[in-house]
């Protein structure tokens, strides 16, 4: 577990990937993800779009650039910050490979 990231240590350089043992189904644009370790999670529509993009090859930085192309009116730094926040949230609930969610009962 030594090379596991903490969610708060995720940066835009990370190419996130769902854990291999999670199962996902999409309904009305929202993903429902089951992890044997942390149970069932409902992702909102934005998190669901990101979830689909997490292939282990594409970095958050590259995803942020794509988002800037799509949402030309949005502040690029704001988009990057939101992307990072969503990814850290997914890491905290134990859905990302190589990210240790830590103890959910512990602050920080």
């Amino acid at each position: 577990m030594a090379d596991q990231l903490r969610p708060e240590d995720i940066t835009l350089e990370l190419a996130p990937q769902p854990r291999g043992d999670v199962t996902t189904v999409e309904v009305d644009g929202e993903a429902v993800v089951y992890s044997p370790n942390t149970g069932v999670h409902r992702l909102d529509t934005i998190a669901t779009v990101l979830w689909r993009c997490f292939d282990g090859d594409t970095s958050l930085h590259e995803l942020a650039e794509d988002l800037v192309d799509v949402f030309a009116d949005e502040d690029p730094s704001r988009l990057s910050a939101d992307l990072l926040a969503y990814t850290r949230d997914l890491g905290r609930v134990g859905l990302l490979d190589a990210v240790d969610p830590g103890d959910p009962n512990t602050d920080g």
Binding site: T23, T24, V25, E26, V27, E30, V32, Y34, R42
Partner: protein, 303 residues
């Protein structure tokens, strides 16, 4: 004189088991659980034949429960066994029977691995079903009893057994287990019980659906509405739409042994939610709750 046999438990001296064929019930099938019950009491055998009547099947059961009296150093006790498994030994015959009923449900889940088993009541209208998933004490048995009284067909008050390929629900039409808190709302359905078995009965009605309406039991149905009921005394009874993804989350949380086949079950529950309208029902008044569910289900049947 026949010597008494001694069980594996040295503290327990067994009373010889009953020999009369009249003390063995017929064969029942609770989904994949195939059983009969041997009892020390002809009246109890009759009661169980009636209670499990909707599960009756021809032929010989592959498993057998035994309800019997045992003498221990602490006095007379009541034992429930399933084959070699001792389910319980208790001072109260009503607890022995309650544990048998509990065990039947447990085994129905355990012995039906090919189906997605949701903790839910199910009723149907013209083959179109409403599923009512909820934890214990949420009012699902009361609601399904009210719906059957209102004319719907009955599939279960405990397990919605979904075929993952077709998403049809296979009936598990056990007797409805009605707790005392619902006896007033369902007073007209109070079962008539032979006084000879009164001492065996837990403080819970076992109400065969056929006692509500002779033709009430359906074999299979296609769910088109999912309603998550929650009994809340004093609250306004209302039905609110639930996002389908939230319905999937709640269905997962209501599915027995989900962790055994998570991919299959999640995929099936996702398709189920896409096929259904999903609601949350807060209820304090049974009549209003039934009317709301009936109206919603009827609109799906008409489509």
């Amino acid at each position: 004189m026949t010597a008494r046999t001694r069980s594996a438990d040295p503290k327990t001296l067994l009373v010889p088991p009953p020999r009369s064929r009249a003390l063995r019930t017929g064969r029942f099938r609770a989904l994949g659980h195939d059983f009969a019950v041997r009892t020390p009491d002809a009246a109890l055998t009759g009661y169980l034949n009636k209670t499990f009547g909707a599960l009756a099947a021809p032929g010989k059961a592959s498993g057998e429960y035994l309800l019997r009296s045992v003498r221990t150093r602490g006095g007379r006790r009541w034992e429930t066994r399933y084959g070699d498994e001792r389910v319980t030994v208790t001072a109260e015959p009503s607890m022995a029977l309650a544990m048998l009923l509990w065990h039947v449900n447990r085994e129905a889940v355990a012995r039906t691995p090919g189906l997605v088993r949701v903790h839910a009541a199910v009723a149907s209208l013209d083959g179109t079903a409403v599923m009512l998933p909820a934890p214990m004490e949420s009012g699902k048995t009361t609601l399904v009893a009210g719906l059957v009284r209102s004319g719907l067909d009955y599939l279960s008050d405990e397990i919605a057994a979904l075929d993952p390929a077709t998403l049809t629900v296979r009936a598990y039409p056990k007797a409805l287990s009605v707790d005392p808190g619902s006896w007033t709302a369902l007073a007209d359905l109070e079962p008539r019980v032979d006084p000879a078995v009164a001492g065996w009965l837990p403080e819970q009605w076992q109400l065969p659906a056929t006692a509500i309406r002779q033709d009430a039991v359906a074999e299979v149905a296609q769910p088109r509405v999912v309603v998550f009921p929650r009994y809340e005394p004093g609250a306004a009874t209302q039905l609110d739409r639930l996002p389908r993804a939230e319905a999937v989350v709640r269905l997962v949380q209501s599915t027995f042994r989900f962790e055994e086949e998570p991919h299959r079950d999640l995929e099936a529950l996702g398709r189920l939610a896409r096929d259904c309208e999903c609601y949350e029902l807060v209820m304090s008044d049974l009549e209003t709750a039934c009317a709301l569910v009936l109206e919603t289900l009827s609109s799906r049947v008409r489509r």
